[in-house]
Amino acid sequence: MRLRPDFELPRELEAVHRKAVRLEWFSIVYLASAIAVLAAVLGSSQAMKAAWIEDILSLLPPLAFLVAARYRDRPPNERFPYGYHRSVGVAYLTASAALLAMGGFILYDSAMVLVRFEHPSIGLNELFGQQVWLGWLMIGALLYSGLPPVLLGRAKQRLAAQLHDKVLYADAEMNRADWATAGAAMLGVIGIGAGFWWADAVAAIVISLDIVHDGYGNVRTAVHDLMDRRPTTYDHAKPLPLVDEVEAHLRPLPWVAGAEVRLREEGHVLVGEAYVVPVGSPGDVPRLVERTTRAIEDLDWRLHDVAVVVLPRLDS
């Protein structure tokens, strides 16, 4: 059996990747503290519960990233001759599906609160021997859980662009939207304090819609990635121009009469086939194929294990 060659990030990106790993570890520690702080003041507010669950769910992308970071280096072996790049996609799909399911649950739960006319209450708590309305503590906790992620998200987005990492990008997007969740939950808490019993459930519904939206978008992307759709930029905004670039590299080669390229994404790397029709008397074809294969991989660090296939003609 022939195993796929090992893949290594370029040296300068190794440093970027290590930075991303550190940032994700930091995220997990910070999120754990935010989850604990919110849990301490949860009360009976539906919106607080939604914000809390969203914080718990935002642990998933960093975890998926770190799991993938651990597996990404594993060389291909007899059992997995294509290596472990797809583990990223599996982790990503699992995390997104959890997000979608949880969003749906909170949506249902909050809608039922409205339907049943359930009135949430926020009473007093004691802090250093003083009686404090628990709502103020909730708002403090929400500020702590809502503001730092915005900065974290920005930093992650920069790294995601450099690494072309979609899990990191999804994580950054969730972090960047966190302030909106915290803001909605604050409105819910203030709504309860103002005697508008429905405000809390409405805020929770808004938050859950946001989670459902995130979850749906991520499940879609994860499924598309696993189905080998055309490679896109890290933010899924547009098709990656690399297919055209490889074709543009092949066609002017003296031994090439025609060329077509097909690529797919596996985590960080792009793999696929380059179909080449040689000119009338190309010379030493095996050697030319070998040299061309290496030249393709030198075009971009992401191109890895692109097979050059020699054909008598290109169909279609």
Binding site: H119, L124, N125, Q131, A180, G183, L187, A194
Partner: protein, 235 residues
């Protein structure tokens, strides 16, 4: 765009609020009760609510009477079972339910349980004259404990043999008893907590001003005052 709309909603929500009352009630219970009538559900639970005589008594009844005095309110007592009163609270047929409720009571969907205003514990205790007795010395020995209570089973974790009695005040030797009764019964508590109870009262859901008023009243009761009220209820 989203930031702007959230901020706008925040301003719109908070602007019309008068500065005087925060948080506010969803159904205006505090305003109705103040200078009006307070309907209080009573669950019989000595020493918190005692319904032996025509007039209710007990620690929590006394507390409610004091609160009512401050709010210039007539109290209307409504004795009933815990289930019936919680349902009444849910539909706002009463404004407050008292009766030895514990913070772990499963009524979260029907009522708002207050912050606990008092924590009581039961301990293993020996007569005060019983010099150096420790928990270890009680292993395998008989201990008097009020029959039919959870403590009667829980105390087995200390490897003692529980003996159910009607009132531990009549028992000789080691007993399981509330810490607040130790002095009166001439007992010495050991370093062995059998159970802990966080005492709460229940108010209707969504009545934040009323709830915080009740909570603030209860939380500012001094330990001495609660101790005195408990002592008055000694059998």
């Amino acid at each position: 765009m989203r930031a702007a709309s959230v901020l706008a909603a925040l301003v719109v929500l908070t602007l019309p609020l008068p500065a005087c009352q925060w948080p506010r009630d969803a159904e205006g219970t505090l305003d109705r009760v103040t200078g009006g009538t307070l309907r209080v559900g009573l669950v019989e639970a000595e020493p918190w609510v005692v319904l032996d005589d025509d007039e209710p008594g007990g620690v929590e009844v006394r507390l409610v009477e004091e609160l009512a005095g401050r709010l210039d309110t007539q109290v209307e007592w409504v004795p009933g079972s815990e289930s019936a009163l919680m349902e009444a609270l849910h539909v706002r047929a009463v404004d407050l339910v008292v009766g030895g409720l514990d913070s772990s009571a499963p009524w979260q969907d029907q009522a708002a349980l207050s912050r606990h205003y008092l924590t009581t514990t039961t301990v293993l205790a020996v007569p005060a004259g019983d010099g150096g007795t420790t928990v270890d010395d009680l292993q395998g020995r008989q201990v008097a404990v009020e029959g039919g209570t959870a403590d009667a089973e829980r105390v087995r974790t200390f490897d003692v043999v529980p003996v159910p009695v009607a009132d531990v005040a009549d028992a000789d030797g080691p007993v399981v008893v509330d810490v607040w009764r130790l002095d009166d019964l001439g007992l010495r508590g050991l370093d062995a907590t059998v159970s802990t109870s966080e005492h709460v009262v229940a108010v209707p859901l969504g009545e934040n001003a009323w709830q915080t008023t009740v909570e603030r009243f209860l939380l500012t009761r001094s330990g001495d005052e609660l101790g005195r009220l408990l002592d008055e209820e000694q059998p």
